[in-house]
Symmetry: C2
Subunit: 411 residues, 2 copies
């Protein structure tokens, strides 16, 4: 009989391993999981501030540093926390072993600082699990085909964990974090917000990309691709969290699952663009080359051979975007531009939306009732987003939470 | 044409890379070596306090920690300093690459925390050197045949550097450190002490084991075994240092090369031991099992079926040694014991000693002239050591330095 069915993979983030005391709590949690009869593999991030301290050291050298060497430097953080957790478990009398990314067989491309996992050759991990050990794997890192250490970028440890589940054929992936799960809205804004027992991959991706980051989008994509069921739960208590899974697996398909919001928005408008092919492409190519991620884009209907274009970017990217746009206005012969960063985005997300007409209308009505003006709208099959004045964001989230009766989701 | 003849290996210790500022100085030094036309490989230790900080973290977990995991933890320190030096060189416009121990092909046994290098598979290092890069290797670490990270123990980075010279067929090994070289005596005691232009491996080993640690004995042994010529020199100036080499290569064979001393000595005496086979073996076996390194041993001539035995240990080991000896005195039926830690060892070292009778006598005479009593004596082919009262050690070193005219060594 293969033991694979009893394998689980846990992941603990940086705040869960920020001190030896916290590492001890993680060790107790992992130990109790093993005592329940499962083989346990654990993926860890670097201790709380380690990565920041290493970045600070590097910043003293200069900017735009060699990416291969930055990855070699940063990957040591996770190696340290993995070894410290193994030492702690060993001291508690558990058989445990730490493995670096390359020892765990995590293979990636050479795209330093945001490498993608190509696959995991889990032979060593399997061997150690079969020997009854708790296997602790340094997250966030892989090895390129040239034999160089890479890091996987933001949320990389989540991706390491999901990839490991897929290659071990494990039954479950548990992401332990400092929140209790995925909520119907930010509980700091809506006190009636409920923890969702389950959410689909697609909804989770929309929630994450809209600012409610519980698990990194790349890791969710990976889970969706390999059909890995993930539970996001608190590392500080024993409550069950939120299961991220396929739509079909979910008990009921809600029309609206949650309200997401993002206040780090800025809008830019360009007026009277000549109405000819290639203009939009020119604008967004130049912005991409400057490293600016454009979010929503709205082009107005043509009026007399000219039209306006408006788009939003992350407000952090505004200083990068403005010089690009100012230069383009002159080159293209637009009549001018305007921008503002006192805007925010509020979104409703739900997999059931696609088969329920009138959801967007209900959203607009709820905002109108609160006297909130909508500046831009964008829709996908499972979400509707509106750009509104930043000062109105709390009122908007509360109104929408009530409108779609999300306080009753567990009731 | 092979370029091997123009390859050099440098090693920089922890104090030389203790800050980004110091790493920058190391980078400038390494860059200028490369500009002189040599291919340069650099071995680095961890930054100043890194290893201590990691040890402190581990100490919060407990004592007697799992040695495999301790090595996995500690090896990250050198990986960080190697990456930081590569980042700095890269920023200066030099092509540079950092390699971990396993990437550099350093193979060791599995004797965690004091692993021995079995060999270096230098293919990757060769490839990078041939590509014109400065290759920076994390010292102090290797990879076992099981694929686990090991550390090489105290002085491990020196050993890494010497082993790399041997496997690259490099022409020179330069150990950059915080002293200028090997002196005829401790310059803090003897202001006339001279820096030796050269010293033999054997003399260096004796000097090191006698307390004058400029380069770790294991690394010197390794250099002797592979006939690697090593220069020990300051990382803070451009002065030439001391070359450690074979006796035959040295300009002249001095009778006495240097005066070493060690104040961390303690003596223990056991009285009236029964004069039968196996007694000495029993004593020293038990001490070894307790982890006590015995240095000098003197057994007095037999008088009426009983004799006395006296030996010295490092004063740090005295608390370990005393209970063992007290127990043995009872078991063996000795009449009693005595100990003292207010003693010190002074030694003369010189490869020419073996063919020059009367050197020991000259030493004893010089000590007698200073009214210094000799408590124990031990000799080897190239050294004579005396145990004396600790308070007299400075006077002894000065007197012997003068007696053997060491202030004239460069004159």
């Amino acid at each position: 009989m293969k033991k694979d069915l009893a394998r689980i993979v846990c992941k603990f983030g940086g705040s869960s391993v920020a001190s030896i005391e916290k590492i001890r709590n993680v060790a107790l949690r992992v130990k109790s999981l093993q005592e329940q009869g499962d083989d346990v593999a654990v993926v860890v991030s670097a201790m709380g501030d380690t990565t920041d301290e290493l970045l600070e050291l590097a910043a003293a050298i200069g900017n735009n540093l060699n990416p291969r060497e930055m990855d070699a430097l940063l990957a040591t953080g996770e190696q340290q926390s993995a070894a410290l957790l193994a030492l702690t478990l060993d001291k508690m009398g558990c058989k445990a072993i730490s493995l670096t990314g390359w020892q765990a067989g995590v293979k990636s491309d050479s795209n330093y600082s945001k490498a993608r996992i190509n696959g995991i050759d889990a032979e060593r991990v399997e061997k150690e699990l079969d020997a009854g050990k708790i296997v602790i794997i340094a997250g966030f890192q892989g090895l390129s085909s040239e034999g160089d250490v890479t890091t996987l970028g933001r949320g990389g440890s989540d991706t390491s964990a999901v990839a490991l589940v897929a290659s071990l054929g494990a039954k479950r992936c548990m992401i332990f974090t400092d929140v209790e799960g995925v909520y119907t809205a930010d509980p700091r804004i809506v006190k009636e917000a409920c923890k969702l027992p389950a959410i689909s991959y697609e909804e989770m991706l929309e929630m994450a990309s809209l600012g409610a980051v519980v698990m990194q989008p790349r890791a969710v994509e990976f889970a969706m691709l390999y059909k890995v069921e993930v539970e996001v739960r608190s590392s500080f208590n024993l409550e069950s969290g939120t299961i991220i899974t396929e739509v079909a697996d979910m008990e009921q398909q809600r029309i609206v699952t949650g309200i997401a919001h993002d206040i780090k928005c800025a809008k830019i408008g360009i007026f009277d663009l000549p109405d000819k092919p290639g203009v939009a492409s020119l604008i967004f190519n130049d912005l991409a080359r400057a490293g600016v991620n454009v979010d929503m884009v709205i082009q107005s209907a043509t009026r007399e051979e000219h039209n306006d274009i408006a788009f939003t970017v992350c407000s952090d990217d505004l200083p990068l975007a403005l010089p690009v746009v100012e230069k383009l206005v002159k080159e293209i012969g637009a009549s001018g531009m305007a921008y503002g960063d006192k805007v925010a985005k509020v979104s409703i997300v739900g997999a059931g939306m696609q088969s329920n007409p009138g959801v967007a209308a209900a959203m607009f009505a709820a905002l109108a009732d609160e006297n909130i003006n909508i500046e831009m709208i964008s829709t996908s099959e499972i979400k509707v987003s509106c750009i509104i004045e930043e000062s109105k964001i709390e009122a908007a989230v509360k109104a929408l939470h009530k409108q779609f009766e999300l306080e009753q989701i567990n009731g």
